[in-house]
Symmetry: C2
């Protein structure tokens, strides 16, 4: 383990997968080389910040070789960064039209989600399972948001699944909260008090599509053991509701401060 040294924090931050981070060397992707050389106009000798999704710290990396298509650097030290939340919040947003879902992915990553599972529901305006290119696009958006927001990991954007399957999967992992605007019985606050009591390590959050969930879908969620929660007196657009809900859940559950991961 490298010692933490007193280093200025470089401005630009990149994710490099662990297999490209050797003991002291970092191999950037061709796309990052283009970004470094042609967009940011950096040169050999300049420093950037790198995280690999595993280490508890960021690496300060000095660029050693740089062209438009290839770049590498060497690690000159490590630098502290904020810890990831101790609670893993898995978001299950209903699939939305292109631009809106891009926004949802970006904002969910910023606010601290652990992973994202797009959900196909009855009233989703988007019915077909997204193709590989669309998933790659979401994963790229997630990576950029993780780089910019100072995350320690790049949350996965997984394959879209039908609601029933998503519920079954979530129910096996911990507490499941299912936002439903018609709900009047269980406010989010009460649900989160229950979550705290159960010391859940994984919280799964379902937010519906523009038209909301069908009553049959809510019944399905209830049967799967989900807590049906109200987001409060104001009706939020679905692309607002997902990030706001995750932010409030982490605000409420990370009360003890952001301890380092156990």
């Amino acid at each position: 383990v490298r010692n933490l040294v007193a280093l200025d924090s470089p401005k630009h931050r990149f994710f490099v997968p662990p297999e490209e981070v050797g003991d002291g060397d970092v191999q950037f992707s061709a796309q990052q080389a283009h970004q470094l050389a042609n967009v940011l106009r950096l040169a050999a000798g300049d420093r950037v910040r790198v995280f690999d999704g595993r280490a508890e710290t960021d690496h300060v990396v000095e660029i050693t070789r740089l062209s438009s298509t290839a770049a590498s650097g060497s690690i000159v030290g490590d630098i502290e960064r904020a810890a990831e939340p101790t609670t893993r919040v898995v978001a299950y947003p209903a699939l939305l039209a292109r631009d809106k879902f891009d926004q949802v992915v970006q904002k969910l990553v910023e606010v601290g989600v652990a992973s994202i599972v797009p959900v196909l529901s009855m009233r989703s305006l988007v019915r077909a399972s997204p193709n590989a290119r669309r998933r790659q696009r979401w994963q790229r958006i997630a990576q950029e948001a993780a780089e910019q927001s100072g995350r320690g990991i790049v949350p996965d954007v997984e394959e879209a699944v039908p609601l029933a399957l998503a519920l079954t999967r979530a129910a096996g992992c911990g507490v499941v909260l299912f936002a439903y605007e018609q709900e009047r019985e269980l406010p989010l606050r009460a649900a989160l008090a229950q979550v705290r009591g159960r010391r859940a390590r994984v919280v799964s959050l379902f937010v519906g599509p523009e038209g909301g969930y069908e009553p049959a879908e809510v019944a399905l969620a209830r049967a799967a053991g989900a807590s049906i929660v109200s987001l409060g007196p104001r009706i939020l657009r679905t692309e607002t509701a997902s990030p706001v809900l995750v932010a409030i859940v982490l605000y409420e559950l990370e009360r003890a401060g952001h301890a380092s991961r156990p």
Copy 2:
């Protein structure tokens, strides 16, 4: 006062200023007439929901006369709606480029802000004070968001003001929270505990532009009595930070539930 009657809630909801709501009659604007007749394709006899920004309930209005340019209706009863927050949260977001600020206005209204004051700051990419047309556009976005999210008022989008003026004004109204990503001393949670202790009725929230605030601006805020708060370990885009911050403030301060306005 009309009695609350058992009525189905009409799907579409409109703001009509109080001067256009007579004792039993409602006069829609020309733009709303177009919306009712040509977009929603409603007809005389159909019902909509109307709020006027003053009454504690929504009116159920039956359309009596409708053309593409003029529409009126009569109130057939009143229907409950969620109360406005007891805490007035005034948002002071730094002015952003067109699309982003439109988004900020829309989402701030959804999550429950009382009014919005755009702020001109040193690093704002937008320097010039917005023209009247742009303000009208924001006010229209605020109205649409209020209609759709079930608000009881349409928050005002006020004239843009320089940061120093905004701080002076906010300091005269109650508690002022100034979000600053370099802040490490006062987490939002601690600031909100102080706010609860002071039983503030008005909370003013400042969120900076893309490049953040200049240290001189932060010093100005401190001198004006603002609490400089950290939004937590993750760095949020400014258009994410404003609505998330307001949502958390209302979540934290409206603990007693949404009591009716005093």
